[in-house]
């Protein structure tokens, strides 16, 4: 029986499979191959002059790649955990005020349906040194006006601004997911906890978080992957200079894009490919690590 119907399954899957092969597997494989080409310049009609590993050593020793790695890692390993904790707290708070829940869910969902680059441009205004809301806000606490995203901004201030924007931008989706996860938790656990004299913080730590842990894992893997691919947010906030000072906020994807498209519009395809493959391996490594670590912790 099973054997007989197999071809039908393949038939139904075929459209999706073909699309995936053309747009995902083949490019992935091709990037991998190109990353080993020597002196490959397709736009100059220059074919590969052999196989080499020097593309990788060039990329890994490149000053901007190291800067990109640092920026990307800060985004992935600082802003992602912060945004998860924040969104979890907001979702729980929303859940405990059922009457206004719908209203606030709409408010928090708005950023999600707004274009990231447009929002980034709005944030660029907020972070403006002279007339931005952010400095005006800090002024209340007697903090002097800083340059956050301009040409005199330090790396620390720029990455802070970028993280604030990234966190805000990613909050909406997470809140939505957690809020729906919360409504799926059986109310009886909370009744039981009340009877068992659990305090609010105990309920959060020992019941809500563990019961949401599969969702938290899902969200942390997907948002970490998203953060490792950060690019839009930088363009939105800093424009294509990629920083207050050019390239201060460069990310791995921005690096790939530069080497693929710039340099007299000819680009260095093999460098771009080597950086892309490196990013792929980094992403794979951290996703696998997260999955393995959490498999030990999430089991019910």
């Amino acid at each position: 029986m099973e054997k007989k119907n197999n071809w039908r399954a393949w038939l139904y899957l075929a459209p999706m499979l073909i699309l995936m092969i053309v747009f995902i597997f083949y490019p992935l494989f091709n990037a991998f191959v190109i990353s080993f080409y020597k002196d490959y310049q397709p736009l100059l009609n220059q074919r590969a002059a052999g196989i080499t590993f020097t593309n990788y050593t060039f990329v890994w020793n490149n000053y901007f790649f190291k800067a990109a790695l640092k920026n990307t890692f800060v985004l992935a390993f600082v802003s992602v955990p912060v945004s998860i904790v924040l969104s979890l707290l907001i979702a729980v708070a929303l859940n405990s005020i059922p009457k206004v829940k719908a209203f606030f869910q709409t408010v928090f969902f708005l950023p999600y349906v707004t274009n990231g680059i447009a929002v980034g441009m709005a944030f660029a205004v907020i972070f403006n040194k002279n007339y931005g809301l952010f400095n005006a806000f800090l002024d209340w606490f007697g903090i002097e006006a800083y340059d956050w995203i301009g040409s005199t901004a330090t790396w620390g201030r720029q990455i802070t601004a970028l993280m604030i924007f990234t966190i805000w931008d990613s909050l909406a989706f997470k809140i939505l997911v957690f809020a729906s996860g919360l409504t799926n938790i059986d109310k009886q656990y909370y009744d039981a906890a009340k009877i068992d004299a659990a305090s609010r913080s105990t309920v959060f730590k020992r019941i809500t978080v563990p019961l949401l842990s599969p969702l938290i894992l899902y969200i942390s893997i997907t948002s970490m992957i998203g953060a490792l691919k950060a690019y839009n947010s930088v363009i939105g906030l800093f424009g294509d200079k990629l920083g207050g000072k050019p390239r201060d906020m460069i990310t791995i994807v921005a690096f790939v894009y530069q080497y693929r498209a710039q340099y007299a519009n000819i680009g260095y395809y093999s460098y771009a490919a080597a950086a892309a493959v490196t990013l792929f391996l980094i992403t794979l490594f951290f996703s696998a690590l997260q999955a393995i670590v959490s498999r030990k912790r999430i089991h019910y």
Binding site: D186, D191, A192, K194, I195, D196, Y300
Partner: protein, 360 residues
């Protein structure tokens, strides 16, 4: 500890804005150290009553006292109750040990003592070997016992059980109900046991409380409630097979079903409803009685023979013909189609007015 409810009322507003009086003006006293079965059909307000006692729901009106203390406004964790939920509500991510320990940790019980008490509880419910398992690695009956252990470990003054056996299969249900009885005896804790299964309530309770539509119908020892139901609902709800219900009439101090005289009575002439338990019939071997039926079907199981007889006063040939059951000793050899004369045991017959209230 005694639980006293005074004029206790809980009104829910349903989705279509209608008032549902889930618990309606209930006056009820639950005596110290007894196991009370709260019995009634689904939706009659049993769980609501239990949650009101627990403090998980707030009464619309009325008062609840634990002994002399009024607890009506007290939050659940202050009331000192243990509650076992219908589907147990064991925390799925915690082991049995952690589940039982959880209330003690919240009450800041000293560590060594908490460990000791957890173990004692596990022993009481016979799960000391299972302490490191997760709930999903246990059978339904075992999960049930963890829930009881978790409820009892903080030494509550009252144990409340919401349909604790309804998720178990038939064999386990019998076994677990004995187990609950034993635990209640050993601890002597005042216990309220909610169920919709009359047999369960009758077999395990010191006293039963029968509820319907948020109203208490009757309270008493199981056999007393069975023998002296105060209304037709209680008479019908207790007993399996159900009590047989006939339309009847009293004329000249005689009780009639159809045109047959059943017995004599002191009540005045009126139309009535007659309830006769299946075991409430004697076969009149001398064939003198006026109560005569054609036996339709005969089922003999072990000691008992069940006679299935068409309800009198129906036209023949109807598709939805009603029948009633008579249980007699298997030593009578009766076949289907036989005409049998019956007399009725007076203490197995109950007379109700047309509203279903017992004739007094």
């Amino acid at each position: 500890m005694e639980i006293r409810m005074e004029k206790l009322t809980k009104i829910f507003i349903s989705k279509d804005k209608k008032e549902v009086r889930a618990v309606d003006n209930v006056d009820l006293t639950i005596p110290t150290g007894k196991l009370i079965g709260l019995l009634g059909p689904s939706g009659c307000g049993k769980s609501t009553t239990l949650y009101l006692i627990a403090g998980l729901l707030r009464q619309t009106e009325g008062h609840i006292y634990f002994d002399e203390d009024e607890v009506s406004e007290m939050p659940p964790e202050k009331r000192g109750i243990g509650l076992v939920f219908q589907n147990y509500a064991l925390y799925p991510h915690m082991t049995v040990r952690e589940n039982i320990l959880f209330p003690l940790q919240n009450l800041k019980v000293e560590k060594e003592e908490a460990k000791q008490r957890t173990y004692e509880m596990a022993e009481l419910v016979g799960l000391q070997e299972m302490l490191d398992r997760k709930p999903k690695e246990l059978s339904g009956g075992q999960q049930q016992r963890v829930a009881i252990a978790r409820a009892l470990v903080k030494k509550p003054r009252v144990l409340l059980l919401d349909e604790p056996l309804s998720n178990l299969d038939a064999r386990l249900r019998l076994q677990t109900r004995e187990e609950i009885k034993r635990i209640q005896r050993e601890t002597g804790i005042t216990t309220v046991f909610v169920t919709h299964d009359q047999e369960e309530a009758m077999s395990i309770s010191d006293e039963i409380v029968v509820m319907k539509d948020g109203l208490i119908q009757q309270m008493g020892e199981p056999q007393d409630v069975y023998d002296f139901p105060t209304n037709l609902f209680v008479a019908k709800f207790l007993g399996n097979p159900q009590i047989n219900v006939f339309d009847g009439e009293i004329k000249n101090k005689k009780i009639y079903i159809d045109d047959m005289i059943v017995s004599e009575t002191k009540f005045p002439d009126q139309k009535i409803i007659i309830g006769i338990r299946p075991e409430g019939f004697n076969i009149d071997a001398e064939e003198k009685s006026q109560l005569v039926f054609d036996v339709n079907l005969v089922e003999t199981i072990g000691r008992d023979t069940t006679l299935i007889i068409d309800m009198p006063g129906q036209e023949a040939g109807l598709l939805d013909k009603k029948s009633f059951k008579v249980i007699v000793d298997a030593s009578y050899r009766i076949g289907s189609g036989h005409k049998v004369h019956f007399t009725v045991k007076p203490d197995k017959m109950h007379l109700f007015d047309l509203n279903g209230e017992l004739l007094k």
